[in-house]
Symmetry: C2
Subunit: 381 residues, 2 copies
């Protein structure tokens, strides 16, 4: 992947440029609304529901919320990750000297157990560039099959820990000369992921034709390594000084300390390590990366990050499946859970949105969950 020092600046117009580069390769995913979920979110929670939570005894917030769900679960590869992967590959192809130095033959490499592995394999395959993927040996058989058989990547297995994975990647780089494409901690990846929120704004405008003033009030995304949220924050930053800002929020699971970004913002310093966490939101089990942190924290482009419990994630998941009839993975509903159940967030929307309320964009980040995994998820209840 392109050397970060020659990446475009981290701005809204760089996200727009990224969008032009990757448009031929990605879907413009649909934006869905749902009146049942709007009604639910706009109904104050009861005192009984708040009992036992940190908001026990507090007056329930009375926000008015209209959701606009950006369905990246319908994206190629089943997640937003192809946006960043295609952007990284397209940028690499344009890097001066890369092709001449045999870059096209050497290919790309990454280590990932999840959606980024499939996304990079697909992007590389599309440009006939070899992809070397290191997957932990305990990865799901479905994901292994997708990477190896569907996207024809060169697969290497490693131990499950980050040092083992990094060492395996370093070996592949040394052997092949392939370029490392990290999953989130790189400007090109961030700019690619930001294109989802850019599309969402365009689609919102189209869906509200005849009402030019109408603009999203805010967008909320899941927060794991931070690629999606920091790209979203760039895409939502004002294109001119007189623009009303679109606020950007993040959502994380709180189980076992997976809410590292929320805690990091509170203490004013990035938390770069979290222990093993059992959260079902398996895409969000990693600490936020360095480059995303500069956007989230240093540049203050993310207003706040909210935590949700596992029970809240499961309730939101069930609502989306049963009411919206849409298959999403647990990580994808963490922002919806925050809007439905986190009283801090709800009180803020009540306060700032008032009676008119907020048009809230929600990024459904992915839909890669097998029926068997889902079954296991709800069996535990």
């Amino acid at each position: 992947m392109a050397d970060p020092s020659i990446s475009p600046p981290l701005t809204r117009s760089s996200v727009e440029a990224a969008h032009r580069l990757i448009k031929p390769f990605i879907h413009e995913t649909p934006v869905l609304t749902n009146s049942t979920l709007n009604k639910l979110a706009s109904t104050p929670r009861t005192a009984e529901e708040l009992a036992g939570t940190e908001w026990e005894g507090r007056d329930p917030a009375k926000p008015v919320i209209r959701f606009w769900f950006k369905c990246e679960n319908f994206q190629r590869g089943g997640a937003f990750k192809v946006r960043g992967a295609f952007h990284a590959v397209e940028r690499l192809k344009r890097e001066p000297g890369w092709e001449e130095a045999g870059g096209r033959e050497k290919g790309v490499v990454t280590h990932s157990s999840g959606n980024h592995a499939a996304a990079l394999s697909l992007a590389a395959l599309t440009s006939s560039i070899p992809a070397h993927i290191i997957m932990p040996s305990n990865s799901s058989p479905i994901k292994i099959a997708a990477v190896r058989d569907t996207y024809l990547a060169n697969l290497t297995f490693s131990g499950p820990t980050t040092p083992e994975r990094e060492a395996a990647a370093a070996r592949v780089v040394a052997e092949t000369g392939a370029r490392l494409v990290p999953p989130y901690d790189h400007p090109d990846i961030i700019l690619g992921q930001g294109t989802a929120a850019l599309e969402l704004q365009e689609q919102f405008a189209r869906l509200n034709q005849g009402n030019d003033k109408k603009k999203l009030n805010a967008v909320i995304t899941p927060l794991g390594g931070g690629g999606l949220i920091s790209g979203t924050a760039l895409a939502c930053s004002p294109s001119s000084p007189e623009d009303e800002p679109i606020h950007v929020f993040g959502a994380e699971p709180t189980l076992d300390g997976a809410d590292d970004a929320r805690r990091g913002l509170a203490q004013g310093e990035r938390i770069d390590w979290i222990g093993p966490t059992r959260t079902i939101a398996d895409g969000l089990r990693i600490p936020v990366g360095k480059v995303p942190w500069t956007i989230i924290h240093d540049r203050k482009l993310v207003r706040a990050v909210y935590g949700v419990s596992e029970t809240e994630i499961k309730r939101a998941l069930r609502l989306v499946w049963e009411r919206m009839k849409v298959v999403v993975e647990p990580s994808a509903v963490v922002p919806l859970a925050a809007a439905l159940y986190n009283e801090e967030f709800r009180a803020l929307i009540e306060k700032e949105g008032g009676e008119e309320g907020w048009d809230l964009g929600v990024i459904f980040s992915g839909g890669n969950v097998s029926l068997d995994a889902l079954e296991a998820l709800f069996k535990e209840e």
Copy 2:
């Protein structure tokens, strides 16, 4: 509901008129495509896969299929049923003398354990007309709650058999003077259900802009009572004699004789009774009705009906959930299962579609399945 004798004629233009009447009340549901499913359907099955089926030893068919999925699972109430219900209520409101005779106060009545009960309750509520719903006492608690609490219908419980349900409905009619709105065996319901296929044709044209000649080759729907397929057949009948026809096909589960329409067509006579069937396609456990039969059989507007096994329904269900990321109920995927696994149908598409193949519309009839029911479904495997 309107007396059948004063219903509009069963023609394409009556479906168009029905569409104009109900448009304010229904969603134009999206049409989705999926390259993975196209590829799968356009790949010949292997000899091993055909072993043990009625096609064992036969050369696998080599059809080329492009699917266009009409997603009525995203419809209000989670199924196409609101189309017929709103049409029935709108027609009733326009029936001469109905309002003067106190029809608006007397309301409507039906017996149903499923989607029609919710659909009629919603349509009646929208027009502030009381709905009296008879539900078998063994109906699912979710469906009971929807009808009673969300759509505010007057609920009566009955025994589970058809005679018990009909007797309870007759009692309610006698007591209240409400008008009976049957779930499928009535022209107004059929015309309403046909509007889904009408929209699908319009959407297909929009999605293929710049290619005026391009038209769907065929549409396939699930077949239970026959309201959906017979409305679809009317909507797909030529609007002028020089029009290429859009072929209409039906699909049924074969378990325990639930393929009554297929068998009825073979013997040239409607089968008006089927025993209890355990098929997981719970919307298709009923025999085809009299009025639908006149369209399917007498007027020959349905070309053929194909049967599929329970295993095939489950495989198709899993594909739609895991690959398309869309929640559909088992009944909804029966047509897809036919296109993927029924060699008769596949051979016909190969023969008539040739190398260019067919653009095949598939009606995803509904998405009302709870996560718990789904879990039970796949646990048995």
